[in-house]
Symmetry: C2
């Protein structure tokens, strides 16, 4: 089946049919739409329309749509249902990781009330436990829907267990093998189970070679591990190696994408996750903080330059090259800091210590600084600017480049050392402080040499 | 099994044992290491050492290690083997998508020679075909290892087929259902096959509801689709809907990460994919192009400012606020362009056309510009700068912010229209042109008002 293209015309027609309550025409369209598509349409519906569409969906599709909704749309959507309905029509039927995603956007009080309304005690206990893990840890990403079999069983017993759990576990890729105390021993693939005889003991066909992660691992560790070893699912254990749940690759894909988008926006000076379709006010608010930092930096620059007003009046040519110095300081700073931030995130920084990294970065800055200064001197010779000025500017440029590289390298590493997200050091923050430092150095050198 | 930590000490010890050819000690360690880990160690080995380690690996692990190697390490590694060895020991046993990845880093001539040495004709034809698709299309990402069954078969015949193909297809998640002409009709899960009786016809249990993509789709389309619909594998078809292969999520995860890293580096002014561990020279070369653009922009700025030298001498205070104007123009430009680039990449730009997007961006810029100008005026009142200067600077700031927003919005959209990667419009390029335009506008306004 091809997916429908969710263009403006399609959505307008669809909303019209909702308002006219044309059930007979809506049902076949809904049947052909994927949950992710219906969730996308929900962005454009008001509460009443959304509740009506939900009433036309079968139970399975209903919960899949809910799991795909954007968090803010989901909060709005829940206003159309009672706590009992939310518990029994939605949460009860969802995979536990999706249920926790859904519940975690609600107030803690409301979430616990909904959990307490669930008929199945083990499920509500498990959900309460999952809710306690931070979003970006293995515990926050994992769900409990998995097939596990005892090491002492045979293939027949294993197939029976799959049959029993099949209702609850929608996608099965791997069967985990545990001992009597639930300690993870290994895994066996569905392919092997299909190909083995019914009375084969699991202990004969299982593979003890299994990758797992602790429930307190960070989301980044999980993502890096699953990416590196090409895993579809990763079992999560406690400190005694007891099997608690599993993280699936689809959640990790979302996690990787969100983290990348966040870092990208941080680097471009946007302080919270926004999308183009957000309202003008939301977009303005997300961008204003960095602009005010930039403004503050600009005012500070004006004060710094103000200290050198007499020098500037004597040598107005110095003003001509202020933009060059600033731009280069900013560019170098962003390059150094972002390569450091990316290295920290991807775990590709090998352990050669702070001094090793700083030394390397300084070498790179020295090479590039010498090339740029030489080019600038060459330009000076043909441009007719005074030699004194050009020599001063070239020396200042080299110094500023080296300084910017140090700041761009050290700040992210320091933030990381103090457990602050090093991505904060990219973007306007580093540019602004490098502008200031660069200008100051420029005028000090100008003052000394001219 | 826990993974070894690949720290410096471990690797040094390992290399020592290789040089001493301590086979008995190396074999158990290699058996416990995952292919991705061995591939990482290969980064630190010379050719002779790498060839020796390879000789200790069994055939399966050998090819998995090769598939995990960094492209440049792989090219080096192949120098230790004859064409026949490469074809028969490695390529022959690899999944076709991995084989193509491996072959695509070699010279076209060498790759075809190796393919022609493969004993199995259909495989060499398929590889030749795959090699023709660009890397970042569905064809470039797909592989041929999949289980397909005929719609007219029953579960027993299907299980026999899985048994027959199990050797070749290492991971099976989905069984594709085709008709006699190989046209894709649907799929059936392994879970259903396990739970169904042997004589059940496939036509009764298969699901015709299947997502697929055309072989010419872009990598981005594939990634967005698999991410949106939480897919583990996506079947790829030709224009007649004949099944050609499948893309698996692990390749898409790598693709998403690489694209995100590329965009991040583009935004931070690094022109090719580099990592911290690369050599100083490689790092310098990757960063120099943008610095030279920045240098060129700085020189252009000096020429622009040079035109206003007399105004500057009369009003030296104008110089104090040049950095502020430049910084704000740069920040706004980067914000606007990166949000546009991200919207284009994630496909979240709805079809409200160029004018709609520009209007919205201008509204955001107007709000933020008014706030920043007001703050600057307020600073002016308490700072003791002349009112004339502060009014001029504030008006110039507002104009520059609006201009920067227009440039930041229009340039990525134009590049996208002309099928150029819009990410090119982020980073130093947009900052540099906004610096220039902003300064020019600043002096023109200063000239008019003072």
């Amino acid at each position: 089946m091809e997916t429908f293209e969710l263009n403006k015309e399609f959505i307008e027609e669809f909303v019209l049919q909702i308002d006219l309550q044309k059930e007979d025409e809506l049902r076949p369209v809904l049947a052909r739409l994927y949950p992710a598509d219906i969730a996308e349409i929900f962005d454009d519906l008001n509460l009443e329309q959304a509740v009506y569409v939900t009433s036309l969906l079968d139970s399975d599709k209903k919960i899949e749509v809910l799991a795909e909704l954007e968090p803010e749309v989901r909060v709005k959507f829940f206003k159309g249902f009672s706590k009992e309905q939310i518990a029994l029509e939605f949460i009860q039927h969802m995979d536990s990781d999706d249920a926790v995603d859904v519940l975690s956007v609600l107030d803690t009080g409301l979430a616990s009330e909904i959990i307490s309304l669930l008929p199945d005690k083990p499920t509500s206990l498990y959900l309460t436990r999952l809710l306690r893990y931070p979003d970006d840890t293995a515990g926050g990403l994992m769900g409990g829907e998995l097939i596990k079999v005892n090491i002492n069983w045979n293939v027949k017993e294993c197939t029976d267990e799959i049959r029993k759990q099949a209702e609850e576990v929608s996608r099965v890729y791997t069967v985990y093998v545990v001992d009597d105390s639930d300690i993870l021993l290994g895994w066996v693939s569905l392919k092997k189970i299909i190909l083995a005889k019914a009375n084969t003991p699991i202990s004969e066909i299982f593979d003890s070679n299994i990758l797992f992660a602790n429930v307190n691992s960070s989301g980044e560790e999980i993502a890096n591990k699953m990416k590196k070893y090409d895993l579809i699912a990763l079992p999560i254990v406690d400190s005694l190696k007891r099997l608690l749940g599993r993280v699936t690759i689809d959640d990790v894909v979302d996690f990787i994408k969100e983290e990348a988008d966040k870092d990208y926006q941080m680097l471009s000076g946007i302080s919270q996750s926004v999308e183009l379709k957000d309202r003008v006010w939301v977009l303005s608010k997300a961008r204003l903080p960095w602009l005010i930092i930039g403004l503050f930096g600009g005012v500070m620059s004006s004060i710094v330059i103000g200290q050198f007003k007499t020098e500037l009046q004597d040598n107005v040519q110095l003003a001509l090259f202020m933009p060059l110095i600033m731009a280069m300081a900013g560019n170098i700073g962003v390059q150094s800091s972002s390569i450091m931030v990316q290295g920290l995130a991807n775990n590709t920084i090998k352990s050669d210590g702070l001094w090793g990294k700083l030394g390397k970065e300084l070498m790179v800055a020295l090479i590039n600084g010498l090339v740029c200064s030489a080019l600038l001197m060459a330009y000076g010779l043909i441009s007719g600017n005074s030699n004194d000025i050009m020599t001063t500017v070239s020396i200042a440029l080299l110094s500023v480049i080296l300084l910017a590289a140090v700041v761009g390298t050290v700040v992210p590493l320091l933030l990381d050392r103090f457990k602050i997200d090093p991505a904060l050091a990219t973007g306007p923050f580093i540019t602004t402080s490098n502008d200031l430092l660069g200008l100051f150095l420029y005028f000090v050198i100008g003052n000394l040499l001219l």
